[in-house]
């Protein structure tokens, strides 16, 4: 059973439907007991970082989720959920993240010019580190669906598993042991996305 952490941010319908489609049991929940019992966790998120981080803390789930991840439970952050794995974000001010991945979240506009922001649409993956279990079924160059205006910047390049090219190398997948994040939405990336969710579900134990 995978727990999709519900802290009042974003649309979780597609995520739970896509897991159902690949035959994976999941539950959308804010109940700590359910989260503790789950074999793996997904941290979703859309919207602004500060607001989402506040909501996650207010729900009382931030510390337990961080601890469960440190104890080895597979965790997948999606989109803003990936950004929240970092130490801090500079989206409208300065906000603390979960600090599970070394680095910070900065405006795409700091790195690119003459391109539309948000970075919205299908873009291809450039795999930087082979052997990441999340990308077990993913080939170099597969397209996935992005919607974001801020990007994660890894301090430790060994955490940067895949990037996508949008004026610069934009962080697409991060990983550190049992902790994973995708800037794109696997639940909206067709078959390419379902394969990534399948690989994650296989880590659940």
């Amino acid at each position: 059973m995978i727990a999709i952490i519900d802290y009042g941010v974003g649309n979780l319908f597609s995520l739970s439907s896509s897991l159902k489609k690949i035959g994976v049991q999941s539950v959308v929940t804010s109940n700590l007991k359910v989260i503790e019992r789950a074999e793996a966790l997904i941290l979703p998120g859309v919207g602004a970082f500060g607001d989402a981080a506040d909501k996650l803390r207010a729900s009382g789930l931030a510390d337990p989720v961080r601890q469960l991840a440190k104890d080895g439970k597979p965790l997948l952050g999606i989109c803003l959920g990936m950004q929240m794995l970092f130490e801090k974000s500079y989206e409208y001010g300065e906000h603390d993240g979960l600090g599970l991945i070394a680095g910070e979240v900065r405006p795409l506009a700091d790195y690119i010019s003459n391109l539309k922001i948000p970075h919205m649409g299908w873009n291809s993956l450039n795999i930087k580190i082979d052997g990441c279990p999340l990308l077990k079924y993913t080939r170099e160059g597969e397209y996935v669906y992005f919607v974001h205006s801020y990007c994660g910047v890894c301090r430790d390049k060994s955490n940067l598993v895949a990037t996508t090219e949008y004026g610069t190398d934009v962080t697409a997948v991060v990983a550190k042991g049992n902790i994973f994040g995708t800037q794109f939405h696997p639940e909206k990336s067709g078959d390419a996305g379902l394969k990534i969710l399948k690989a994650f579900a296989e880590m659940a134990r």
Binding site: N11, S14, S17, K21, M120, Y145, V147, Y166, K188
Partner: protein, 251 residues
């Protein structure tokens, strides 16, 4: 590199997909859930799902159909038709929509764009506009293209972007359903004034029209309805031809 998107549009009435020439004489095509799943398998990059007569008779979208589509299709889904307030946004987002498109609702109440962007984020708010030439000027029409407003299309596009619309769907009434190609001139006029992604709509009749579109204007996506519904153009073939023409697409 970011791919240009191909987007089939499903205009829905009474739970069925319809498409007419110049918005009149609607013809039944197919079951929206089946058609949506089929398109997703063929490589459609996104789907737009409109209740095209909702704004004129106040009818709400059939959320059950929407929910069924969202349960089976894992590509971005934009929903429009009858979106007049934040409750309408909420209603369709809960059924699995990723983006919500406002048209007549924003003409009636322009502050809806900003309010929705603040609540759901810019990426969620799509401003859809039906545009037609009137005395040589591009004017916005409301109510499924039936009622002319005084609004200048380029100014409306700019207003939408400034108030938080994350994307624009620009539909040319002049070329809609005619299958003579996209309205390049009108799209150029709008793209010159905005930086958010623009989806071109109205006039796709063949593969060459999409090649012309992407070669001539910096739009992000091309939308088509009847060209895909009647099987005249296969999305896989279309994308192969775009790729051969040097246009970045997801294959």
């Amino acid at each position: 590199m970011l791919a240009k998107r191909i987007i089939p549009c499903l205009d829905v009435r009474d739970g069925r997909v319809v498409k007419g020439k110049n918005f009149e004489g609607l013809r039944d095509v197919d079951d929206p859930v089946r058609l949506a799943a089929f398109y997703s398998q063929c490589g459609a990059d996104e789907l737009v799902f409109y209740d095209i007569i909702a704004s004129s008779d106040g009818r709400k979208l059939f959320t059950e159909v929407l929910r069924n589509v969202a349960e089976n299709v894992f590509i971005p889904l934009t929903v429009g038709g009858g979106i007049n307030n934040l409750e309408d946004f909420d209603r369709v987002l809960k059924c699995g929509a990723d983006k919500v498109s406002v048209n007549s609702g924003a003409i009636k109440n322009p502050s809806l764009i900003g309010k929705a962007a603040e609540k759901y984020g810019n990426q969620c708010v799509v401003l859809s506009m039906d545009v037609k030439r009137v005395d040589g000027k591009f004017k916005v029409f409301s109510h499924g293209g039936r009622i002319q407003t005084d609004i200048d299309a380029v100014e409306w596009a700019r207003f939408g972007q400034e108030n938080g619309a994350g994307e624009l769907v620009v539909n040319s009434i002049d070329t809609d359903g005619v299958k003579g190609g996209f309205d390049i001139e009108m799209l150029q006029a709008i793209c010159a004034e905005v930086t958010v992604p623009v989806i071109a709509s109205g006039g796709a009749g063949g593969i060459n029209h999409f090649i012309d579109l992407f070669k001539s204007v910096n739009v992000d996506a091309g939308l088509g309805a009847s060209i895909f519904h009647y099987g005249e153009t296969d999305i896989k073939d279309l994308k192969m031809r775009l790729k051969e023409a040097g246009i970045e697409v997801r294959i």
